[in-house]
């Protein structure tokens, strides 16, 4: 399964790669980068941070869904209470609040990717 991780916190990005070592992973560090990588990598699922420089996860989600209306995007955020609703309205399937467990994250990926 292919997972695109979109996260501007480099330490967390690396940690997420460790968590998802059983998956084929590509990374992006902002919304714009995510749109480009989505088109080249063609992931089964996207883990999208919300607050990022250049382009937010909310805008990137909207853009990716314009390109592929069947894109599966899960939000991973510290701003669940503050930005969660906006992200769901943008088209994210679920909000995963940081911090999260490896098993919890993988369960959610599998649930939505299947």
């Amino acid at each position: 399964m292919k997972v695109l991780i979109v996260e501007d916190d480099i330490a967390l990005l690396e940690a997420l790669k460790l968590m998802l070592s059983d998956f084929e992973v590509e990374v992006a560090v902002n919304g714009k980068d995510a749109i480009e990588k989505y088109q080249t990598f063609k992931p089964d699922i996207v883990l999208m941070d919300i607050v990022m420089p250049e382009m937010s996860g909310i805008d990137a989600t909207k853009e990716i869904l314009k390109i592929d209306k069947d894109a599966k995007i899960l939000a991973i955020t510290a701003f669940a209470k503050h930005k969660g609703k906006e992200m769901l309205e943008a088209g994210a399937l679920e909000i995963i609040e940081k911090p999260f467990s490896k098993s919890g994250l993988i369960d959610k990926i599998k649930k939505h990717a299947d």
Partner: protein, 149 residues
């Protein structure tokens, strides 16, 4: 005419036909906001005129105070808005390293150490949740102030 005589000669009010000068304090809530000075061409203040002038002076004082309070409220609202924004950013800055730590604990640490670390992460998350609740309350207050400012 009054302004001209004041500009040129403070002592000329009598020469210009003024017989009395009244200074009326502009008072609101016991605080003097200024003084209104009235030059009169008559010997006496007519009945009711003094009350009318006092009322006018106090109404002006009230208006000045209202403008001052509006300015204070505006500044307070701006500060609250700024604090709420910073608060949310700080929470984000705590959750991100916690997520990193949890990932490292689960993938790189021995089970015992990982369990202890995750337990401590949970304790911090509980504190953050309380902060989040405070943030939501602050947001509500901000919206209320926005509505009535």
């Amino acid at each position: 005419m009054v302004a001209k005589s004041e500009e040129t000669c403070y002592g000329c009010t009598v020469q210009n036909g003024f017989k009395q000068v009244l200074s009326i304090p502009m008072v609101v809530d016991g605080e003097v906001k200024g003084i209104i000075t009235v030059y009169l061409t008559t010997d006496r203040v007519k009945e009711g005129e003094m009350e009318l002038l006092k009322t006018m002076a106090n109404d002006l004082a009230f208006a000045i105070k209202t403008l001052e309070l509006d300015e204070v409220k505006k500044r307070a609202y701006e500060q609250i808005e700024k604090n709420i924004e910073q608060f949310a950013v700080l929470i984000d800055h705590i959750r991100n390293p916690l997520a990193t730590l949890q990932a490292i604990a689960e993938t790189k640490m021995d089970v015992d150490v990982a369990d202890m670390t995750i337990e401590q992460i949970k304790r911090i998350v509980d504190v953050i949740k309380k902060l989040d609740e405070g943030w939501i309350e602050s947001e509500k207050i901000k919206e209320f102030l926005k509505k009535y400012r």
